[in-house]
Amino acid sequence: MERIETEAPAREEIGAGYAGRIFRQIQRVIDDTGGQAGTLIRVLQQAQGLIGYLPPPVLKTISRDLKIPLSELYGIVSFYHFFTMVPKGRHVIQICLGTSCYVKGGQRLLDTLKKDSGLEPEGITPDGKFSLETVRCLGCCGLSPVMAIGDDVHRKVKPGEIKDILSPYE
């Protein structure tokens, strides 16, 4: 995934290329909301949907156009688990630590993964392939312990199986 490292461009300065395209799309999301009350969270969700994370230039753009102080925006982004300011890996590994998975060994999965691949929660592998998250409950308690990679949910995972589960992902 290409990273956006530019400053927030002014509306008229949006250029060509990947970053320019993204900013144009974000601008469109903001314009579509038409300044309705309570649109901020949706704007953030859609912006993150476009690039996978919310880097400062994007937040600055949203702050400027929705007229919400950047500090308040930061407060909101850091409050909700769904939002992230760091890029995620191509595949996001989610280890469920909900009650059911916890009592059935979810923590052991996390420990094994930490040990084997050096991944820490909220971390990303150097090659950008995997990033790791812990989640509170994926709602698949009947299949505990559960590990999700992207949209694939792996059921009743044992620590020894993790390597094999990860190997097909490119």
Binding site: Y80, T99, S100, G139, C140
Partner: protein
């Protein structure tokens, strides 16, 4: 959904609805003359591969050109532990439920059952099992339908309640009927729904709101997800009825947590359909009543299940709860009177109207009427979603419906109500599960997650887990919660490490009461419940962590010591030549030396790493390994012989890699912690002090002059199978 249904114009009157119902019923009846195969596609099912099963059925039926078989999609029926689930309904016969269906099983089911008419008995779930028999299916009564097809809902008297209300009932009568039914909020607190509606109705305001709380954040609970995915129209219908009863409501919101993508998709689809058919919009069923509904996907914050936080989140703010009063009934969303109800509460409403308050109240207890969906998870045989009348004894839920505890373990407690709830110990197995009885034991009904725990669950650890959860999820606004929860957590952590004092227990209780009474919102007020209930019902377990420095369940890692089993090891140990009682004791005393930091210092100064590695392996070889599983039995023996060789100047460099590999295998493949941890020291020294090993191999001697031909504390277990002598 097929094309013709899409093109239906909005229904302009109740008559049109009745005509459509007749039409939809005819369609269902026609379908009923064929063999129906229903693949249940809930989130659990899909994760288990239900989509592949669906495809396999379609393929197989297509290939065989079976014209009298229809393959249908349906929602989750709650058998989460045995997904994917497929129901087969043959005309004039009882339904047959297949569990754990895989792609490979499909051809046989088609061949034997659909074509041959003979049920594949060994893969089915017996209809007479208590799991199915003892349930009272009401909220989940449409789970066998296709949730994406509104006409199936209409055929089952869907939107009849709405028609009845809009054409024949005054708003007050609706509230009265809901009140008579005794419906209480299903989100946890159990506040009477009719009273809530009454408050909002009488609160002055021209623009009011109804909101559906689908931010089901309790770990171990997913009842709401099942209803959202399986019966979305019942929620929509309930909300329109609520809007009518409250008055001055033109807009509603369904706040659904972001972690439920399928639920959001299903409900969005249902809302679009309802709009198309005229159940939402400007002129509902031609009566002039106006109401529209939008979904608001959450962004992942547990505290947003709290009503004021949820409303703040819809307004686009941080989900911080705020002081009440004013209550949302007076000043809620955008400052207007707002009623918030749980998914299940909304879903209960249409049935109360259609079937009457008396029908709804016919099950349940004096104070708690109707049914409740519960999630049975944890150490239980039949994990899944069940619906029972309120007041059903806990024991019946756990043992009859839930099928008891797996692996013959002992039932210890059930945790109810998530992080806001508490544990109910085994001796209260007869408690009726209703709002009052559960609260009397210090827990709360909550949204309905029941996590069953067996003897292997440590109550201190459970309390610690939930408190860690609420600490992470607290919004940080009010001091009692922000500061109190970490303070309690610190004490629990101390206790779990064996460093607690008896005084800590009193402080814990005191802090708990303080946090409960002084916090701003429900999250803080209920957060000490897991601690307070475990303290109340399992005080002896806390004491054993503190006084005996022991974790009876063997969960708290710092307190687990692997002991030689008297009955298994002693006969063996006695047989070992040269064994003296001091050997094992001496090792136990030496254990603190094995902490990595101390070990490194020690190794750097005087001790030889090879010697230590060798010693560390002889101990499990002597008296720890039970020799049952090969990785441990043979692994230890081989590692010992390799280390002996290296120590005595017979080593080769390849041996180091071999040691690594052996150690790794033992870690992964051994059955129990004895084998899994046995190679720890060897791997540790290999990693950090490889130079010591290489010196032994290349110089053929021990640089520190420590390693001798035989270890001085060497006693060899006669069970050291396969090791060269």
């Amino acid at each position: 959904m097929n094309k013709e249904e899409c093109e239906v114009k909005p229904l302009a009157s109740v008559e049109e609805l009745q005509n459509l119902r007749e039409q939809a019923r005819r369609k269902l009846a026609e379908r009923g003359e064929k063999i129906q195969v229903k693949v249940h596609l809930g989130t659990c099912g899909i994760s288990s591969g239900a989509n592949k099963v669906l495809e396999a059925f379609l393929r197989e039926v297509e290939a065989r050109k079976l014209s009298d078989v229809v393959i249908l999609r349906a929602a989750c029926i709650g058998l989460c532990g045995v997904e994917p689930v497929v129901t087969v309904i043959t005309p004039g016969q009882k339904r047959v439920i297949y569990t754990d269906v895989t792609e490979d099983k499909v051809p046989q089911i088609v061949e034997q059952h659909l074509v041959g008419g003979k049920v594949v008995g060994e893969w089915t779930l017996d209809e007479a099992v208590p799991l199915l028999k003892l349930q009272e299916i009401r909220v989940m009564h449409n789970q066998d339908l296709d949730p994406t097809n509104i006409e199936e809902y209409i055929a089952r008297d869907g939107y009849q309640a709405l028609a009845k209300v809009l054409t024949g009932m005054r708003p007050e009568e609706v509230i009265e009927e809901v009140g008579k039914a005794g419906l209480r909020g299903r989100g946890g607190a159990g506040f009477p729904t009719a009273r809530k509606w009454g408050f909002v109705r009488s609160s002055p305001g021209e623009e009011k709101y109804v909101v559906c709380n689908g931010d089901e954040g309790d770990p171990g609970a997913y009842m709401n997800r099942a209803v959202l995915e399986g019966n979305p129209h019942s929620i929509i219908e309930g909300m329109v009825i609520g809007a009518y009863a409250i008055g001055n409501v033109r807009q509603g919101y369904a706040y659904i947590r972001a972690e439920y993508p399928l639920a959001i998709e299903t409900l969005s689809h249902a809302i679009a359909q309802a709009r198309e058919y005229g159940f939402l919009g400007k002129n509902i069923l031609g009566t002039g009543f106006e109401f529209s509904l939008d979904i608001f996907p959450g962004a992942g914050a547990f505290v947003c299940g709290e009503e004021t936080a949820l409303l703040g989140s819809i307004e686009g703010k941080r989900g911080n709860p705020r002081q009440r009063p004013p209550f949302p009934a007076n000043k809620g969303l955008f400052g207007q009177p707002t009623t918030l109800n749980n998914v299940e509460t909304w879903s209960d409403v249409p049935q109360i109207i259609v079937r009457g308050a008396d029908w709804f109240a016919s099950v349940g207890t004096e104070g708690s009427k109707g049914t409740k969906t519960l999630c049975l998870v944890g150490k239980i045989n039949n994990t899944g979603l069940v619906e029972v009348p309120l007041g059903t004894p806990l024991g019946q839920i756990v043992f009859d419906i839930g099928g008891g505890i797996p692996d013959g373990k002992k039932y210890k407690a059930v945790q109810i109500g998530g992080p806001s709830g508490g544990v109910i110990p085994a001796q209260h197995i007869d408690v009726p599960v209703d709002y009052e009885a559960v609260t009397a034991l210090g827990a709360i009904m909550g949204s309905g997650g029941l996590v069953v725990m067996d003897e292997d669950s440590c109550m201190v650890d459970v309390a610690k887990y939930f408190l860690g959860f609420t600490r992470d999820e607290a919004c940080g606004k009010c001091v009692p919660c922000r500061a109190g929860i970490p303070a309690m957590l610190a004490i629990l952590t101390k206790i779990s490490r064996g460093e607690g004092t008896m005084e800590d227990l009193d402080i814990l209780a005191e802090l708990g009461e303080m946090v409960a009474s002084a916090s701003l919102c429900g999250l803080g007020q209920t957060s000490p419940n897991p601690v307070l209930t475990t303290l109340r019902h399992f005080r002896e377990e806390y004491e054993s962590h503190i006084i005996d420095k022991r974790c009876p369940a063997g969960v708290c890692k710092a307190l687990v010591a692997y002991h030689a089993l008297e009955d298994k090891c002693l006969p063996c140990l006695e047989a070992v030549a040269g064994y003296d009682a001091g050997g094992y004791e001496a090792l136990s005393a030496a254990l603190p030396e094995l902490v990595p930091e101390r070990l490194v210092t020690k190794l750097q100064t005087s001790v030889c790493a090879v010697e230590l590695a060798r010693f560390s392996m002889t101990v499990p070889a002597q008296n720890k390994s039970c020799t049952k599983c090969p990785p441990c039995r043979l692994g230890i023996a081989q590692m010992v012989s390799l280390l002996d060789d290296i120590a005595t100047g017979r080593g080769k460099l390849e041996m180091l890699d071999l040691l690594f590999e052996l150690g790794d295998t033992m870690r992964v493949a051994s059955e129990c912690p004895v084998g899994k941890t046995a190679p720890d020291i060897v791997l540790f020294t290999l990693e950090h002090f490889r130079d010591h090993f290489e010196a032994h191999i290349l110089d053929r001697r021990c640089p520190a002059g420590i390693c001798q031909k035989t270890l001085s504390y060497h006693t060899i277990c006669p069970l050291r199978a396969g090791a060269p002598t």
